[in-house]
Symmetry: C2
Subunit: 307 residues, 2 copies
């Protein structure tokens, strides 16, 4: 059995051997079929998705149809987990953004009272595992309205989405609204991640070295790095992280108290970073590298349970 | 004499016949030479630029070198206006972002006490024409620090750069930090611009119709338009515009009082919109379509004055 998670930016597969992560941006003619062909076609496949929101599709349903068709070309008997908590064989609207729900479905047996906080490259999901019934049927839109979904991720979030100005030695400086630097640049410069952990494309398509990240951060105030110096670019990184961690911490505390979840479980590529922020247990420690591909792992578990 | 303004997104040319605007995004292998070849090569050319900041260049100086070289391949005797207020023949650091200064240089004779407010597709420049000496030598970085440069433009600014959440009928809803919708979508839906005036690429590379703009605005809260309805997408547009106009109005009032400029001149493709906001005279009315290509017009005037 393969577990497959098709997001907007990454395609993740979990099998007996562990997790396999493929960068596969759907808005750039993603090679879904080519990637899936690398796995043996006569296997069972359980799939969950969130990539239907990519803006190459005029509606989520169009995106669902595209993804289901691509997967079934390679795995004709694939089954797809829906936001109603069951598997489907066909493209139905329920398949939109059920990746977070399948994690809740599988983990709630093991951690019945925990709040799951999952930070990926683009978003952070906050999921009370003791409220599965209430979670079923929730859309991205409803979750954005109740602090269960935040578009602050470890890597891809634009620095300019959280800062209108930065305080530098010279005083307050407005920022450019271009996509000049992202969360990955701030996290790398602050030592939160290593260049190896910067697994998505950079805003200017150059590398993830400290020097290149600093250069991108300087461009946020329309400056070359030589113009403002390393210390000022580091300040931009710190101010982004202060805003980001403030938003995430507040949302986690609010949801935790609303749903009375005593414990916290952190997950995703931002798991370690989250744990420093909000405490709790780190699923990456408990589950190893599978934590980087939790929805793919979970949809496989859910399918094995059903089979 | 040709006046040429090479920005990050547009290449503009002014000649005896008026203004010619070419969409020419530098971050996507911009066809500078191909565009310039459409103009007779044995003419004099005066050039001003801001495209050197595009992140395909590792530094502004690299960008200046690239642009100067491309222009001189077509116009070997081209001259380039610098932030020191004079023309140069070679690629020198002074050529970075002098487009706003050349406007001030040419307009200050005619409107000595006015504040020039120029809203383009990406930014808004606020320029006290009575302080030319103080303006010379200012960089984008220094202007971001003193409210003279704002990254709020008529078309390209991401909606998510000014909104962390929106108030909809259902209550407060967080927004996605993806580049799902831009200022152009908000302005079109609010009737500020027509589809013809939406002259840059849209975030999802579909068209500028009202329906398509509404669809992009709905995606800002991860929804299909059918999911939230037109009235909610219109609310997102209005809330973006409220934030944007607040930032611009405050900056204009601050600079106006700081430099004691009695009058205001609005310019650029956002000229009419700005005038509703801050009053004053509309350069587009005074100068016609040339107002859409003011730096190109101004660098031509400055060169004719020098010649």
């Amino acid at each position: 059995m393969l577990g497959i998670d098709i997001g907007g930016a990454n395609l993740k597969v979990v099998d007996e051997g562990g997790a396999h992560i493929h960068y596969c941006p759907l808005w750039k003619e993603a090679p879904i079929r080519e990637i899936l062909k690398m796995y043996s076609a006569d296997r069972d496949a359980a799939v969950v998705m969130s990539g239907e929101l990519a803006d190459c599709f005029s509606s989520k349903y169009e995106g669902i149809g595209y993804i289901v068709s691509a997967v079934r070309d390679i795995f004709p008997k694939a089954q797809f987990y829906g936001i109603d908590g069951v598997f489907h064989q066909e493209a139905v609207p329920e398949l939109a953004a059920a990746n977070w729900l399948v994690m809740a479905d599988v983990l709630r047996g093991r951690y019945p009272d925990a709040l799951l906080v999952d930070m990926g490259s683009t978003t952070t999901d906050i999921i009370p595992l003791n409220a599965f019934g209430e979670m079923k049927g929730q859309t991205d839109y409803s979750r954005l309205g109740s602090d269960l979904l935040l578009y602050y991720g470890l890597l891809r979030t634009p620095v300019s989405s959280l800062l209108r100005e930065v305080m530098l030695d010279a005083g307050s400086v407005r920022v450019s609204s271009e996509y000049f630097a992202c969360a990955g640049d701030a996290h790398l410069v602050a030592g939160v991640i290593t260049p190896d952990e910067y697994t998505t494309a950079t805003p200017d398509n150059t590398g993830p070295s400290r020097e290149e990240c600093l250069r991108r951060l300087a461009r946020v105030v329309c400056a070359d790095l030589s113009e403002i110096g390393t210390s000022q670019a580091e300040k931009i990184a710190r101010q982004y992280i202060a805003e980001e961690t403030g938003e995430i911490s507040r949302a986690v505390r609010k949801v935790q108290s609303e749903y009375c979840c005593p414990g916290i479980l952190t997950a995703g590529i931002g798991s370690r970073f989250l744990r420093q922020l909000v405490g709790g247990e780190d699923l990456r420690v408990l589950m190893g590298d599978l934590s980087d591909a939790m929805p793919a792992w979970a949809v496989r578990e859910a399918a094995l349970r059903t089979a």
